[in-house]
Structures are given as C-alpha cells and as structure tokens.
Symmetry: C2
Subunit: 415 residues, 2 copies
C-alpha cells in the first residue's frame, strides 16, 4: 500500500509537468514512442511469448490466446495508433467560453487535464499503449493495472514507454504500471483518492462491477449494451432489414450490437419472414414472443430474461408491439441506456422516439453500430460511458479533460 | 432497504415524465409552489418548532439553532428563491453542437436531465426546497435525505412540495424524502446504483467523507477550501491589502475564504505591517513563519499543520516566499484545488500563475470570495465541486444535466 502512495505522489508531480507541456512537444514525444515501439519489437514479442506460454499452461481458450497474442504486425499497428494520436487536436488550453460577470470580472472556462487517471483492464496488451498515449496527449499522468495474464507484455511495453518519454524530456512517471497484480493492490488503487482523479475500468462486466463496488475514487463506468432496434409501422422494409441485420450480425460481440428487435404489429406479418431469413443467413438464432411464433413457427420462446440480456452473440430476441409508446416503454424498462434506433418515415414518430428514449445515443434510421469514438469523428476512443456523469457515450480526448475557471480582475473584492 | 428500491423505482418513473416536461409548465409549477409555501407558513413554522424544541433539549449550540430556525421572513425568502429559479433559462434540450460524420450521419449533442439525484445534507431546512427546485427545473427527480435535527421541518416542506407538484399535474414522486433518518438507510441510498444517477452530499467535511467512503453511486464532492492569496513583488500595496482582507475576513466560515497569505520577500517588509494591522482590525489572528515573525513580532508561530488547515475562522497563516515558483509550489502542495489568487502588475507572472496553479478557480487581481454560482452569473448554485470529474467549481443548472447523442440517418449501416 505504501508503494501505491509513492506511485500516486510521483504521478501527481509528473501530472503537473504534463499539464504545462506544449502540444508540439507532446506530439514529438508520441512520434518518438511510435518509432521506439517498432524498434523494440523483438523485446515486446519475447515478453509476450512468456505470457502466451503460461496462458497455454493454464489451459486458456484459443479466443483468449488470440486477444493476448502480439505479432510484429500488431506492434506496427500499435505504433500507427500512437502516430495517429499525435495528429489529433490537443483539447488542453481551449477556453470553451468566456464572459463578464456583474462585478466586471472576466471569467473563462478552460480545458485542463484531469490529473492522474487510473486504468484497470484485462487481457489485450495493446490497451496499455492505447490508454497511456491518450492520457499523455491530454496532459494526464496514468497509473495502469493490467491483467496478470498479460503481465510480461505490459511490463515490457511500459518500460519502453517510460524510456521513450524520458528521452523526450518528459517525466517517466507520467506512465506507471502496478507490478503487483494482486487483488489487494487493485483494491488499494481503487481507494487512492488523494492522488487519483478518476478510475476507468476496461474489460468484463465482472471487472467493472468489482470496481464500482470497491472504488472510492470517481469511476467512469463503461460497458454493457442491451440495445434495441424498433421498426415502426411506417418503416421502409428494405431499410429496416438492412439496419437490423447490420445492428445484430455485423459484430455481435461488441456493446453497440442490437439484442432485441421491436416491431410494430401492423408490419410484423409482412416484414418478419424476410428479416428472419436474412438473419438466419448470418447464423442468428431467433427468440420471440407468442405473436412472433404465430408468424415464424420454428423459433425459441423468449423468456423475461431474454429481454434483459446482452447476448453478445448470434442471438436476437424479437417482440411485436402495438405502438411506439409500447416500444419506448420496453426500451426504457429493459435497455441499458447505450444505443437505441428507430426505423420510420414519420417525422413525429421519429422525434418522439428521439426525445423519449433515455440512452447515450438514439438513432433515427441508422444502425446502432455507429456508437464509437472513431465513427463519431472524435479520432480516438478511451471507452463508451454508460453513466450520465461527466461523459455519456463514446469518450474521446475531450472526455479526458476537466475544466478550470480563469478569472481576470482589476482589484475586485466581494461586497 | 426494499422501501428504498420502491422509492428508486418511483423516482425513475417520475424522472421520465419530468424529462419530457415543457419549460413553461415547469416554471408555472415553480411559481405555484412559491405561493403554496407562503400560504403554508403556519404549518412549516409549527413543524420547525418541534425540531427547535428537541434541538434545545439536546443542548444544541445557538449557532446551530439559528441555522435550523425558520421564520415567516425566511419562508418568504425561500419562496423568492423558488420564483427566481423559475426565471432562469432551462438548459434541457439545448443542442450544444451538431456535426456530420464521415457516414453522413447528423450527430447532435443534447442536454438532458441526469435522471434521479440523491441529496444527503444536514441542518438547514432551506436546502430541502433549494435542492428540490433546482433538480426539478432541470428535469431531475430527487431523493432527499436530510439530517435528523431538521426532520419535522423537512417532512413538512416535502409534503407541501409534493402536493404542489401534483396540483400542477406533475408526479409527486419527482421529490421524495427518506422518512427514516437512520445511518443504515443512508448507506442504502449510497448504494442504490440501479436507480440513482448521482449523489450530492452537502454539509460537513465528515458527512462528505462518509459519503465518499461508502457510496457506489457516482458522487460529486463539494466542500473544503484551503485557499491562498499570493502577493507578488510587483503588486500594488492598496489592491493587495484590500484583496487579502476581503478574502480572509468578509466571511471566514465559507469555503472560498482565504486561509494562507503568501507574500514575496521583496515586498514583505513594506507591506506586512499595514496588512496585518488591517486584518487585526477585523479580529483576524495571525500565524506566521520565522521570517514573518522578524517583521511582525507578536504572532503565533505557524506549524506544518497550519499550511494544511481550512481554519474557516478569523485565523490567517502567512508565509514569505522567495519567488512565484515557490508560491505556486506551496499552493499545489497544500491547497485543496478550490480558489487561488495572485496580486500582481506583471503580465508574465500573472499568466504563469493562472496556468500553473491547479485549482477550480484561479484569480488575477481579485478576491477568492467570488467563487460562487450567483457571483459567476449562473443564477443558482447547487454547490461547489472540488473534484475534477463532471463539474469543477460552482455548479449551476448546467451542471445538473447530462447529454445524449441524437443521430439523424437515412438508412446508414456500418461497413
């Protein structure tokens, strides 16, 4: 625990330097890091081999091994990602608005770094580089806590990052990693309020839940998406079909994929047979209520729990609804407030859905799959927030900043 | 605890209605509430009498009794406060920016309510009305948990608020209060993540610490201010004197009052005698380091703990520093990142201070006492955030909102 406090102090000191760093100098450091990563490919892959070997010994599944595996190509991709962050606009220093108050003080709201950001994550070692450089670009110091399965890879990557930062005249302590991957130390990090400004967990629902339950440091919750597509009675069949197939089957494992299709009873009989046929071509299993079964007999009966579940798989629940109110009520009851879409030609129905559905991203006539920092044009993504505080939806560089009021006076005192 | 879940559910349902309410209708409900409060003065004062009587029985100090006491005049003030909130611009629905992405989707970022806000507070019953109406204006449902010392007053006020809301065709459950003021129920509220979007503690440092330690719901930390005024070598003596006297002595009990004066060694001998004389006229006790004692002999020697302390009293610590770097380092080490001021005529020194001091509000040539939602021109204040997440510094109506991305498509799917 005293080790954590020391790390926290060093991060805070490094953060004060980072907060004052010029954009040009930060970008040069990022480009130098990209080069150094590629130049150290052999060292990175050797460390990764150790992780892969012990994972194989522990009988880790192939899919997990693939997430863990680094290759020369993946190191190049990592470096390209770092270069790309160097090209993004630096939000730090921006004064988002400025006004005079009644005492004639000029008050500006300026973007500043959050300070020290903790990241707790699992598996993929590229998160180490990704998180560190996004935080660095926004002038934040980072304390990383990766999963034990990627231990050697993460340590090797952080060593290269720290050497590179030092070579670019930045404090190496801008990026630190916990070398002790015990649960106790992770819990200590979650309570390091004196030094950490925010904690961002990235990984499984179980990891995020553990952080939410134990952290006293402010947390940004990321993750679960039980998303819906609602096909209105005034929807175009072709558009509706393309959107639900894309939302469900283009990448079912991600949080912006759809889990339930809601369809208006007036068009269910006409639309569902071809929609289900298309989904089955993509190997999607259909679960539906009795009304759906009356149209598509060979489906699995949906249970209450199906409406609540983020399948993250080739499974879609379908429910027929009598009107848009029922669709909106279903979404607000079962959804996780992530991404929700309506397909309709009707102006008033679209506006009602947009305003009444409570979610981070609400779509008219588009796939839920667009909820993503890169797709939104942010140029980066540190995660997708599913809470309402600080940031909601895809988080880019702006979401890694706080603000500070800067006040210009001429000797004013308060009456 | 099951009672809490029921309250949470009702608040969430009420929140969905509030989120859709028209501004005009919300304002009419606020004006009706202001009238109803005044009309029910006798009931409010009778309830308050019970609280005052049991506080007196419990030997509560006079200053506390005064905070607890309501009078006909204070009820009128409360009602005026409610009317004033009706006049403020409604932030809900504002689209802060809107753009096209590369898939030609039109993406807007719209202000929406946070949802359900929990407020845990102490003593003053006017917080009950204040918090409830600010949350209501921004379309948020509220679950209040007041202190046991104001129990009868709070219950009476919430009953009037609920009746008034219902009479204005709003769900009464937009405002609820815990009738059980036990610690267990408060702790249950702190963990009501399924229904609460944020928890705002208002009160003593001990209360805020307890909430920070126990809450799993996102918290906005408010409170402590260990604020500094730094008098540079190029400061004007008159301006410097006025600012430190105002910052320290105009209202020492509040969080934006100054606790430590830092003064450049080049002007200490010239400025300190008259500054200290003025402060002593205001009954301020001076604590200083050895260098200060060499100029003003009859002071108390400052200890390390004096630099860390928010006195919230007529006490000022004074330290002589060799340069601006030492002043900035002292502030970044001991300050609570609340409000910090420099007095200087030098452009470069002022800019350096503004950028390098890490605080919610940094002043050039003005008193720290201006850190306040009303002084900043927000028209309201729910508290002053001392954390960096979501909101930093004075929080007005905008800080009681979240955002939602609204996306207009034409059938786009993600490649």
């Amino acid at each position: 625990m005293s080790g954590l406090v020391e790390m926290g102090k060093r991060a805070q000191v490094a953060g004060l330097t980072l907060a004052q760093a010029k954009t040009q100098k930060k970008n040069e450091a990022l480009l130098a890091l990209a080069e150094r990563l590629v130049a150290n490919t052999a060292i990175i892959l050797a460390a990764n081999e150790k992780d892969l070997a012990s994972a194989a010994d522990n009988g880790v599944r192939d899919a997990m091994l693939d997430r863990l595996r680094l290759t020369a190509e993946r190191v190049v991709d990592m470096a390209e990602g770092v270069k790309q962050v160097a090209t993004l606009a630096d939000p730090i220093g921006e004064v988002t608005h400025m006004w005079k108050n009644q005492a004639d003080l000029t008050i500006g709201k300026q973007r500043v770094p959050l300070g020290v950001i903790g990241i707790i994550y699992e598996s993929r070692p590229n998160v180490t580089v990704d998180a560190a450089v996004l935080c660095f670009k926004t002038g934040n110091a980072t304390i990383l806590r990766g999963g034990s399965e990627a231990f050697h890879s993460n340590i090797a990557l952080v060593k290269i990052i720290r050497e590179s930062l030092a070579a670019s005249d930045f404090p190496a302590d801008a990026v630190q990693i916990l070398e002790d991957t015990s649960r106790e130390t992770a819990q200590g990090l979650m309570k390091l309020n004196a030094y950490l400004d925010v904690l961002i967990p990235r990984g499984s629902a179980r990891l995020i839940q553990a952080v939410l339950e134990n952290a006293t440091v402010p947390v940004i919750e990321t993750g679960t998406g039980n998303c819906h597509v609602y096909i209105d009675k005034e929807a175009q069949q072709d558009m509706a079909t393309k959107i639900i197939v894309n939302a469900k089957a283009s990448r079912p494992s991600v949080c912006n994929a759809a889990e339930t299709l809601l369809i208006h009873e007036d068009v269910a009989r006409a639309f569902l047979p071809s929609i289900v046929a298309k989904l089955r071509e993509e190997n999607v299993e259909i679960r539906g209520d009795e009304q759906v079964a009356a149209i598509i007999p060979d489906i699995i009966a949906a249970t209450e729990s199906d409406w609540e579940t983020e399948f993250a798989d080739y499974i879609l629940a379908i429910k027929i609804v009598p009107n848009d109110d029922a669709a909106i009520a279903h979404i607000n009851k079962y959804g996780t407030k992530h991404s929700e879409a309506i397909v309709t030609d009707n102006y008033f129905t679209s506006q009602k859905f947009l305003q009444q559905v409570d979610a981070a991203a609400v779509y008219i006539n588009a796939s839920t799959r667009f909820t993503d920092g890169f797709e939104f044009g942010f140029g980066a993504e540190i995660g997708i927030s599913t809470q309402k505080l600080h940031a909601r939806g895809p988080m880019g560089l702006n979401e890694l900043t706080s603000t500070k009021y800067i006040i210009y006076g001429e000797g004013q005192i308060r009456e």
